[in-house]
């Protein structure tokens, strides 16, 4: 698993005593990611999750084809933590909220279907929040997923760019297809605005 940190959030100082420097007090917990490709048992995994199988470790399982960069995941997690703090989560758990936040749609069911494990997904990204998972949890992850575990640097090669453009309605760009960085900006912006339009 590879660890990534999440940005610390900002809390505005009281209106009557604004200051030039505001410490960012609460560091967010880190996230741990694992990537699997050529996964063959997605329908089994999906069934086990739906049936509430207790041997499935607590994590977010994401269809890696929908992800451009880790930054996208970091933003979804940061937003989930922020909403949890404010008691404004729309789904039942932090992990489903992460999946939901990836989507520009406010339909929970569609979002989970599109970004979670589906029968058609072949590569999966595992996201865990908090301290480094124990070896026991890690082995449960690798026994759950029948696929080849690869480093996170492989992630960009697994992205389904036309799918991402379609989901985030970014196809109507100035020149048809967009450069990856531009697409990421649209994706992250759409995620941030979700629910506010």
């Amino acid at each position: 698993m590879t660890m990534y940190s999440l940005p610390a959030l900002f809390n505005p100082p009281p209106a009557d005593s604004p200051v030039a420097k505001v410490p960012l007090s609460n560091p967010s917990p880190p996230i741990h990611l694992s990537l699997f490709r050529n996964v063959t048992n997605t329908s089994e995994i999906r069934k086990r999750i739906i049936s509430g199988d207790k041997t499935v470790p607590e994590c977010a399982l994401i269809n890696a084809a929908t992800i451009l960069e880790v930054f996208q995941i970091q933003m979804a997690c940061t937003k989930a933590l922020l909403l949890q703090q404010q008691n404004a989560m729309r789904t039942r758990s932090l992990y489903s909220e992460i999946l939901f936040n990836l989507s520009p749609s406010s339909n929970i069911n569609d979002s989970l279907k599109q970004f979670g494990v589906s029968d058609s997904s072949t590569s999966l990204l595992v996201v865990m929040l908090g301290p480094e998972p124990s070896n026991e949890v890690k082995s449960r992850v690798s026994s759950l997923i029948a696929g080849e575990q690869v480093g996170l640097e492989v992630l960009p090669t697994l992205t389904d760019l036309p799918l991402v453009s379609k989901i985030y309605k970014a196809a109507n760009g100035p020149k048809g297809s967009l450069e990856r960085g531009q697409l990421l900006a649209i994706v992250v912006g759409a995620m941030a605005l979700k629910g506010h339009t």
Partner: protein, 218 residues
């Protein structure tokens, strides 16, 4: 050694405070719309929340249309915060004031300003505070980046678009001596880049004669 994480206030206006904060591996800008104690609290909360979302939406719509703006990272409506990308690069104001602009560079600059404003107005977004300080030249790509949509509105009226241009004209003339030719180049580029450009340009002539405010009577 890394510095302790803290937000540094970089700008304070009448409506908002702007901070620069470390944001994971990168740096972000946080814009806080603070409460107005002179307003009724309930009204204030509603207005502020609406304006925060409005501003974020303008940033995002422009980005989608291919106008460079800071990338929207995160929205905290409860605390009236917008987290966005920290765009590095000089303001157009500093770029002009450096005084080293060749006439070719000036033409390129005017061309890109005109084009960005045309696309923005085509989306019916009125910036509301067009100045050369609210335009950056992004480091690396040199793309013209529009910032600060805190006063932006949505309107399809030619009048509002013409006034938007007029505000820029006044700002340009008052901050940069002898910039009339530059503004003319911007207008030409603007008119060229969208179908209603000419109509806005004509309206702009009218606004220029009478000033920003329309006469309320007769």
């Amino acid at each position: 050694m890394s510095l302790p994480p803290e937000a540094v206030l970089i700008k304070q206006g009448a409506e908002a405070r702007v901070y620069k904060i470390p944001f994971g591996a990168t740096t972000a800008i946080v814009k806080e719309r603070f409460r107005k104690t002179y307003r009724h609290p309930v009204l204030d909360e509603k207005l502020t929340a609406r304006r925060v979302i409005h501003e974020a939406r303008a940033l995002h719509r422009l980005r989608k249309a291919g106008v460079d703006t800071p990338t929207l990272y995160l929205l905290d409506a409860a605390k009236s915060l917008i987290y966005m990308e920290c765009v590095e690069g000089p303001t157009v104001r500093d770029y002009i004031n450096a005084g080293t602009l060749t006439s070719d560079q000036e033409t390129t600059l005017a061309e890109s300003i005109g084009k960005s404003l045309a696309t923005m107005h085509e989306l019916d977004i009125i910036h509301g505070d067009l100045t050369t300080s609210n335009m950056l030249l992004r480091e690396g790509s040199n793309a013209l980046t529009l910032i600060d949509f805190g006063l932006s509105t949505v309107s399809s009226m030619i009048e509002d678009k013409a006034v938007d241009l007029y505000v820029l004209e006044r700002a340009l003339i008052s901050t940069h001596p002898n910039s009339e030719p530059l503004f003319q180049l911007i207008l030409d580029s603007y008119a060229k880049h969208w179908k209603d450009g000419k109509a806005v340009q004509r309206k702009h002539d009218e606004v220029r004669r009478r000033g920003r405010k329309r006469t309320a009577f007769g």
